[in-house]
C-alpha cells in the first residue's frame, strides 16, 4: 500500500466519508473509490464499480471477480445518539465508543452534559427534538433515550420514529413504557412505528448498576445491528 493511499483512508475517516480500497491480489496494485471517482494506478470496469458500490452500501468488505480482487470498505462509524446525560449514559457512552460508535450525548440540562462527566464525547445541550433533527438519524444510527422524562424523551422518540434509525430504545419500566406508547399513539404513531421502540431498553440480563444496564443496552444494540432478531424475543 502506498503511503498516499493510507493518507486518503485517514482523510476520509476524518471527514466521516466512505472510501473503498480495491486491491489486485496477484500483484498488490490498488485504487481507491469514494463513491464517484476511482483514483490510483489501477482502473475499475463499470461492473467492478457497481460491485464495489454495492459493498459500500452493505458495509461488506470481501473478494470478488473469482477472488482476484479484494475490496476493503471504510465506512464512517455507526452513530449512537443518547438522550439524557445521566449516570447510565456515563457508562454507555464510553462503552459504545470502544465498540466503534460515534457517540453524541444530548441533554439540555447544562449540569448533566459536561465535559467532566463525558470526556472526549460529543455533547449537545439543544432540546432533544432540535438536536435530533440536526443530527438527522439514518439507517446507520441508533437512538437511546435515558431521561425517564416525557418532556425530554418523547420529542426525541418522535424524531427517531420518523427516521430510518436501525435501533431505537427507551429506558423505563413496563408501566413507564406503556404510558410512553400511549402518548406516542395519541401523537399519531401507529402500531408498526411503536413496535420499533425497544422498551424497556436492553436485554434482560438482570442488570442493576448503571454500567450493567449499559451492557444490556449495548448487547441488544449489537444483536440488532447484526440482524439477530431473537434478541427482541429474549428480552
Amino acid at each position: 500500500m502506498r503511503a498516499s493511499t493510507l493518507d486518503a483512508i485517514l482523510a476520509a475517516r476524518a471527514a466521516k466519508a466512505a472510501l473503498a480500497v480495491v486491491t489486485r491480489i496477484s500483484d498488490g496494485a490498488q485504487c481507491t473509490f469514494d463513491g464517484s471517482n476511482v483514483d490510483g494506478p489501477m482502473s475499475l470496469s463499470p461492473t467492478q464499480i457497481e460491485e464495489v458500490s454495492g459493498r459500500m452500501r452493505d458495509d461488506r468488505s470481501g473478494t470478488f471477480d473469482d477472488g482476484t480482487l479484494f475490496a476493503q470498505i471504510y465506512n464512517p462509524p455507526l452513530r449512537l445518539i443518547i438522550v439524557g446525560a445521566v449516570h447510565i449514559a456515563q457508562a454507555l457512552a464510553p462503552m459504545a465508543a470502544i465498540t466503534g460508535f460515534d457517540v453524541t450525548v444530548v441533554d439540555p440540562r447544562g449540569t448533566f452534559a459536561t465535559e467532566e462527566r463525558f470526556p472526549g464525547i460529543t455533547l449537545s445541550d439543544d432540546w432533544p427534538d432540535e438536536a435530533l433533527e440536526a443530527l438527522a438519524p439514518d439507517g446507520r444510527t441508533a437512538v437511546v433515550t435515558l431521561t425517564h422524562d416525557p418532556k425530554l424523551d418523547d420529542p426525541a422518540l418522535q424524531v427517531a420514529l420518523r427516521s430510518s434509525a436501525f435501533y431505537i430504545a427507551s429506558l423505563g419500566g413496563q408501566r413507564t413504557h406503556s404510558g410512553r406508547l400511549e402518548r406516542l399513539r395519541d401523537a399519531g404513531f401507529d402500531a408498526a412505528a411503536l413496535a420499533r421502540i425497544n422498551g424497556p431498553a436492553g436485554l434482560r440480563i438482570g442488570a442493576v448498576s448503571p454500567a450493567e444496564i449499559a451492557v444490556s443496552i449495548l448487547a441488544q444494540l449489537t444483536a440488532i445491528r447484526h440482524g439477530k432478531s431473537a434478541a427482541r424475543a429474549a428480552a
Binding site: 475517516r13 486491491t23 470481501g62 472526549g120
Partner: protein
C-alpha cells in the same frame, strides 16, 4: 475514563501505521480477505507490523499473528505482497493453524514510501 480512550488510540491500526511511517520506520499491513468456517476475526480485520516486529490490531485470536508477522518482515525486505492461507487444510496446521477449525486468507503488503 481517559485511559479508555488512550487504549482506543493504541488499537487504531491505520493511525499507528501512519505514525510509524512518519517516523521513518518500515511497516506492513496484513488484512483478512476471506474466511471459511468459524474464524475469530471477520473479513477486513487488519494487523499492522513494524520493522521491529511490533504489532497493532489483529487478524485472528492470536493463533497466527506470529506467522503473519514473520511474512510481513519478509515483505518489508523484498517488497512483494503475498496471500497467506491458514487453516486445518493446511500442512502447517499443527504449528500455526486455527484452533477453531476455520480457514482464513490474509493479504500482506508493505507500506510504500
Amino acid at each position: 475514563m481517559t485511559k479508555t480512550f488512550d487504549a482506543l488510540a493504541r488499537d487504531d491500526v491505520l493511525r499507528t501505521l501512519a505514525t510509524w511511517h512518519g517516523e521513518g520506520r518500515k511497516a506492513a499491513i496484513a488484512t483478512v480477505v476471506s474466511t471459511w468456517g468459524s474464524s475469530p476475526r471477520p473479513v477486513g480485520s487488519q494487523l499492522g507490523i513494524d520493522g521491529d516486529g511490533n504489532l497493532v490490531g489483529s487478524v485472528s485470536g492470536g493463533c497466527i499473528e506470529g506467522a503473519v508477522a514473520k511474512e510481513a518482515l519478509e515483505a518489508m525486505q523484498d517488497g512483494q505482497s503475498r496471500l497467506l492461507e491458514f487453516g486445518v487444510s493446511n500442512e502447517q496446521a499443527w504449528e500455526v493453524g486455527l484452533a477453531c477449525g476455520g480457514t482464513v486468507q490474509v493479504f500482506v503488503e508493505r507500506l510504500e514510501g
